[in-house]
Each structure stands twice: as C-alpha cells, then as structure tokens.
C-alpha cells in the first residue's frame, strides 16, 4: 500500500513521501469512543485515538491493556529504600563510624527519613521516565502532524489515526470504515519515504566523545587508589592555606603589633594559683621540705598505700625493692636499654627529705616520667608518706618496735 507522491504545493521540490496512514476527525468525545469501539472490533492493531484530554472509558473502548508503569515505580521505590538503608548503614557503621552523643552507629529510626525520601525520589524518576519511555517520547516527527486539522488535537479536536503499516490497512476500505463510524473528515497523512538518519561521522564522533569522557573519572579513580608520597591534588584548597598569626609574631590588628596577646589584667591561668611553695613544690625557703603540708594520719596513709600500689608498684614493686612486674617482664624479655627502677631502700633515697621525694613524683627523674598530670597534689604527698612508711618497714631496728611487742619478736625462730 505504498504510493509515492510528489505533491509540490509551493513549487519547491519536496522530498519523496509515502502514505503513512489515515487520520479521521470526530465531533465529540462520545463519537470518538463509539468509533474507537468500531475500529477495535474491525481488528486493527496499529491505530490510536487522539484527544485534548483523557476520555474516561477510552481504554475499554480501544481495548488498551493496563500499563506496567506501576510495577516499574514499585521496583524503583524498593530500590531507593534499600539503597538508602544500605548507604546509611555502610557509611555510618562500617566505613566511617563516628560517635555522636553516645548514640548507636546504626539506628533504624534515625535512618527512616532518608529511606523514605530516596524511595519517593526514585519512584518519581521511574514514574516520569517510565511514562516517557513507554510512550516513546520525545518523538519530534510523527506523520499525523502532516494533516493540518490534526493541530486541533491539543485544543478541541478528536481524532483516530490508523497506520498504513497495519496488516488490515487498505486505503479505501479503511477510509470507508472511518466514515461509517461517524468521521466528519478523513485525511491521508504522509511520511518521508526515507527516515532521516544520523550521519555516520556524527555517530562515531559521539562514540569517541563518550569514550573520551570516561578518561577523567577513571584517572581520578586510579589516583585515589595508588599510594602517593605527596599530598593528593584537590580542588578546594581552603585547608591548605590557613591564614593565622605565629606565636610571638607580628600582627597587624592591634596597635602594639604583637600577635600574641598579653593576658587580660588580673586574669589567672587555671591551676596557676600555686602560692604555697611547701604544698606545690615541696620546698620551704628554697630548701627541700622535711615536713608534710598535709595531715599525717592513718587515713592519709591508707590513701597513700592505695595510690602507691596503683601508680608506683608496677615498677618499684609492692615493697619498693625496684622489682615490680614491669621490671620482671623487661628482664625476661631482655629489653635493650632497660634501666631498673631504683630500690626505694637504698640509703641515698632513704635519706632524701620528703620534699625531694615529692619533687621526683611530680617531675620524674631520668627515665621515670613525672606524675603531675595523673596524680593530684595531695595524693602525691600521701604517696610520699607511704614511701616513708615502706622505708621504715624494710630498715627497722629493734628499737623501732614497741617495747611490749619485742619479746614476741625475739622468740621467733630464725630461719636457716
């Protein structure tokens, strides 16, 4: 049923065209529906009805089967929800866990808003993209538009179009059918004999451009993977250039051009109120103190014992012999360069004033580090008190024992 035509209305040589089908106009939505039923019953397959708005009952009249669009949307929604859940779980729990106010890394309730939004977003894309793809849109060339009156289909015209490619199409028979169905006008519509093709150069050009476009992302992906000893390239360099003043440097902001500001008058650093040299430095008039600045009683002694056992015993041993667990292990492992913790009972240490012991705990000595940051001042004094007791206990003479207890001591059988 292909009939070439060379109609040239304006004198110009028009490209060869072929008959693409018939377009019939109807008066009302009802007439269109009735005609559609007739065309359907006549067994046509490649045909369509056109109207400015959706007409109810048209699907039934034409025998259109329900679209699969809702299922596409459903699948897209599920994908969106699953992807959102996975993304939030993997990023916040596995790849980059970080604690916020002690909340769990993964908590479903907190993830629901984003699961919901992504579900809606992907569903909406599917609904929008789906309707275009299923409707084969955009389609910028359609034979029906070659009929002048068809332009009214988007205003107030009702049409039926039957394609020439339909197996049942026969120019006169089909025209008769449409006329008998109540058409007010039936027109032939034409299409160019040859469908316009994309020029080959353009096609290959696009393929090459698409391949070239892959290079930058692949290069970036590679750069991110391989180790590098220089900082990686990055676009936003805010963090590389942080304008700031150096301590003790020159500043432009204040009149005295000093970057470091003097403390506000009468202000005091936290912990800076160390006026009591005896308590804080263990010194009295520049000499090591020999007395305690805290009450010496059983309670302090107990506190000192407890703190000593926690902080000092690991190295110096529970009895202060310099044989704590750390030392034993270091010896067993033959740690190179290990210095044995000093026994607290050597005369040099025993003879030290309490202020000096306090100083050692506070600032450390050679390989022993200071404990100022860990042990509060009063506790350091308590430890000194306990160290003194330890020293007495290991170096006692008979005279140190209360008279009432001496006989019991002397009767003790001496060990071989």
């Amino acid at each position: 049923m292909i009939e070439p035509s060379t109609s040239s209305t304006n004198g110009l040589e028009e490209p060869a065209t072929v008959i693409a089908g018939l377009v019939a106009e109807f008066r009302t939505p009802d007439a269109l529906k009735a005609a559609a039923t007739k065309v359907r019953d006549a067994g046509y397959r490649l045909w369509d009805a056109h109207s400015p708005f959706p007409i109810h009952g048209m699907e039934r009249a034409m025998g259109i089967r329900p679209t699969i669009l809702p299922w596409l949307v459903f699948c897209a929604g599920l994908t969106g929800a699953a992807a959102a859940l996975l993304l939030q779980w993997w990023t916040n729990t596995i790849d980059y866990p970080f604690l916020v106010s002690g909340k769990p890394f993964f908590s479903l309730p907190a993830n629901i808003p984003i699961i919901f939004e992504l579900m809606v977003l992907l569903s909406a894309f599917a609904a929008f993209g789906g309707v275009l793809v299923l409707n084969l849109l955009p389609e910028y060339r359609h034979p029906a538009f070659s009929v002048k009156r068809f332009a009214r289909v988007t205003s107030d015209g009702f049409f039926i179009s039957i394609a020439a490619s339909d197996p049942k199409f026969d120019l006169s028979a089909t025209r008769a059918l449409l006329e008998s169905a109540g058409a007010v006008a039936v027109d032939v519509c034409y299409a160019p004999a040859e469908a316009p093709r994309l020029p080959g150069v353009l096609k290959w050009g696009l393929v090459v451009a698409a391949l070239l476009a892959l290079i930058p992302p692949l290069w970036i992906a590679r750069q991110r993977q391989i180790p590098s000893d220089v900082p990686r390239l990055h676009i936003i360099q805010d963090m590389d250039f942080q304008p700031r003043y150096q301590a003790q440097g020159v500043g432009r902001f204040f009149a005295d051009r000093r970057a470091t500001r003097p403390p506000v008058p009468h202000s005091m650093a936290v912990g800076g109120r160390q006026l009591d040299a005896h308590f804080y430095q263990g010194q009295i008039d520049g000499q090591w103190a020999t007395t305690f600045p805290i009450p010496v009683d059983r309670e302090t002694m107990e506190r000192g014992r407890e703190r000593y056992n926690i902080y000092c015993a690991p190295c110096h041993g529970l009895a202060g012999e310099g044989d704590g667990m750390t030392h034993q292990r270091a010896v067993a492992r033959r740690e190179p360069g290990w210095v044995q913790p000093r026994s607290l009972h050597v005369s040099n240490v025993r003879e030290q004033p309490v202020g000096r012991l306090f100083h050692t705990i506070t600032h450390g000595l050679n390989t022993m580090s200071g404990y100022a940051a860990q042990i509060p001042v009063a506790d350091r004094w308590a430890i000194v008190l306990y160290v003194r007791a330890l020293q007495r206990s290991q170096n006692a003479v008979l005279d140190d024992v209360p008279t009432a207890l001496r006989p019991a001591l002397l009767q003790e059988p001496t060990k071989p």
Partner: protein, 466 residues
Amino acid sequence: MSSVAFPAFDNTSDDPTVRAPLTTPGQNFQTITETVCRVVERPRPPLGWYIAFAIAVAWTGVFFLLVVYLVSTGIGVWGNNVPVAWAFDIVNFVFWIGIGHAGTLISAILFLFRQKWRTSINRAAEAMTIFAVICAGLFPALHVGRVWVEYWLFPYPNQMGMWPNFRSPLVWDVVAVSTYGTVSLLFWYLGMIPDLATLRDRATGTVRKLLYGLFALGWRGSARQWHRYERAYLLLAALSTPLVLSVHSVVSTDFAVAQLPGWHVTLFPPYFVAGAIFSGFAMVVTLMVPARAFFGLKDLITIRHLENMNKFILATGCMVGYAYALEVFASWYSGNQYEWFAMVNRAVGPYAWCYWTMVFCNVVVPQLFWFKSWRTSPWRMVLVAVLVNVGMWMERFVIIVVSLSRDFLPSSWEIYKPTWVDLGMLAGSFGLFFTLFLLFCRYLPMVAMAEVKAVLPAAHGSGHRH
C-alpha cells in the same frame, strides 16, 4: 481590567444537592484553550505586568548583589551571632519552604480526593511551589558560609574519607528539600506537557514553535499515551502526598530534635505542616486574585475556587491556633522551668510584639473567613492572606530567634538585630519569587487546560453522571 465589582455569576452556593459549576457558563473546549493561550500569545502583556516585573527584577538584582557581597565577605555581614546563630536566613528558609506546601497539596492531595475544582488553580500553585522551594533552598545554601563546598552536603566518596552523619536532622533536611524540589518539578512538568503541546500547535513564530515544540516532547494526545500518562500522574500524586507531609515534618525536626527550650516539642511536625499549608494557601490567594484579574482568567478561576481556598485558610488557621495553645500547655505541663521560661519570654519578653503580631495575624484575622462576605470578596481576602503571611513569617521568627536569644546560660543572652543585608535579602527573595512567577504567567500556560477540559460537563458526554 482591575474591576473589583462582584461578578453577576455566582457559583458559591453551599447547596449540597446542586453540583456547583466550576467555570462560568458557556465554556467549551475551544474557549478554554483561547482563554488560557491568549495570556501567553498576546504580543504585549498588560502594563501592570511590566510595572510588577520591573520592581521584581530590581529586587532580584538586589538579592544577587547581596549574595555576592555575602559570599565575598563572609556571613558576618548578617546579624547572626552567638547565641542567635540561626536568624533571618533560617526564618526565610522555613517560611519559603512552607509556602510551597499549598501547591503540592492542591496538585496532589486534592487530586487523590477527586476535588475537581483544583484543576483551575493547580498549575499556578505548583509553579508557586517550585519558585518558593528555589527561594527557600538559597538561604541554607548561603548560610553554610563557604558555598563553594556545598557539595559536601551530599554523600559521595571523597579523599577525606568522610561521610555525612545520616542520623542528623540537618542531613535529612538536605535530602527532603532536594527530593521535594525535584519531585515537584517533575510533577509540574509532566502536567504541563499536554498544554505545552497546545501552545506548540498554535504557535506562529519560529522561536515559539521551536521552544514549545522542544518541551512538548512531541505529545499528540494519543489515547495510549493518555492511559500511561494518567497512571504516571496518579502515581506522582500518590508519592507527593506523603512527601509533602514529610518535608515540613523533617524541617521541624531541625528544631524538635535539638534540646533548646521552645524547640524540643513533639508537637512540631504536625504543627509545622498545618502552618505550611496555611501560609501556602494565603500565598496562592495573594497571587491568584490579581493574576485572574490582570490576565482575564475570571471565567476559569471563579470566586468559588477562591472561597474554597479561604475555607482551607480558616481550617488550617484554627489548627495553628490550637498548636499555639498546645505549646503553652506543653511548656507548663512539662514542669520544666526552662520550658516555661521560654514560653513566658515569648509572651512578655523583649520580643513580645512579635509573638502577639503572630497570634493576631494567624489566629484572629483568619476568623473573618467565617463570614461569607470576606470569603468571597477578592480584595478583602487578599488583605487577610497578606496578614496571614506576615503572621507566618513572624511565627518562624518567634520559634527560631526568640528561643535562641534566651538559652540556658543567662550570661550569653543576646538580642538579635538584623543588618541591612538581612533585610535586603528578605525583600530580595520576594523579588526573585515574583520575577519567576511573572515570567511563568507570561510564557507558560497558567491554567491546566487539559485538566479543566476533562472536568467540563461536555467531556463526559450524554448519559454519564458523576
């Protein structure tokens, strides 16, 4: 042109046995096409359009100049400072995003409820939604300060090895607002395709033919296409309905999840949604009354349409009033001295005038809509609608600024004062909004022709009753 006379035709009857006509009598498919396309096709818009457009564009210019100033100098040019770190920017954000909600309500929720009167106003309302979301999105985007790293908001694999904290309402907000903007745009555009095809088929100039043709995607009203189209439209409506409710709920969690007295209220999500719809409808009324007068759309956008929207304003206004009362109750019932202080501070503190403006505009003024004369008189309803929008802006100011200005530690209390940049950007955002809306009126079909035609009695033929 700008006649204020009460039209002789009256379709505002409340008789439930009579189906009120949705257009003036004598409308057919042809006249609807003519009425709507004429607005776009006339060689020159009315003088009023030029005046309005000039003013709007000038303010848009101010807005973007201020953006340049802000970005190049830093957000210190705003009045925000500790403790009021969220101020005009976030107030404007919540205000604009709320405005958008009425558009989606009209286009999606009323569609699901088969409210046919929506067809005359849904297109313009959806356009309003999109323009409002644009205005809204700009403020938090600028608020972050370093706008050039805006993309950090989104999850993408980066060499910092970091990911957003998805348990934070601020991230929910980014996702919700951008989803809302995208879905609204798709919904709007999908609905417009058949009407763009109408403009394409009537276009005379080459440029118009080309552009309308390009965006109409070759639509030819085929029944097979309509079938899928209607499905897609229904699905998008069904998706937008929970979406619109989620968006302002998520916005409200920006506040409700924080522990600041005055913010930490479980009432917030429904309260915010009701307020959003309230303010959105007020904005639709503000826009539609002059638009239908200037562009000759009174036959399609009738007094009944406006009256219906005013009923929505009345209903949501009462909900908002209820929420205000419940807020007072909740802060008293909490037995928490900070909560109660925050409440008292709103009512009698340094910002008391804001609070009472809010109560007056949002609770008292809408009560006028109990009177039919107010519901049906165009210029009187515009007065109410404008006051409602003033009130709703104040509401966000009261929630955000007033709560922040009095936090837990009295030594850090501070009174917030907007700078001229703050005020300029607020006015400028209105300029941007109206510029976009005026362009829309001039170049796009303001009324959904295909949908209005489908609800005309003639579309259903004989013997078909609903």
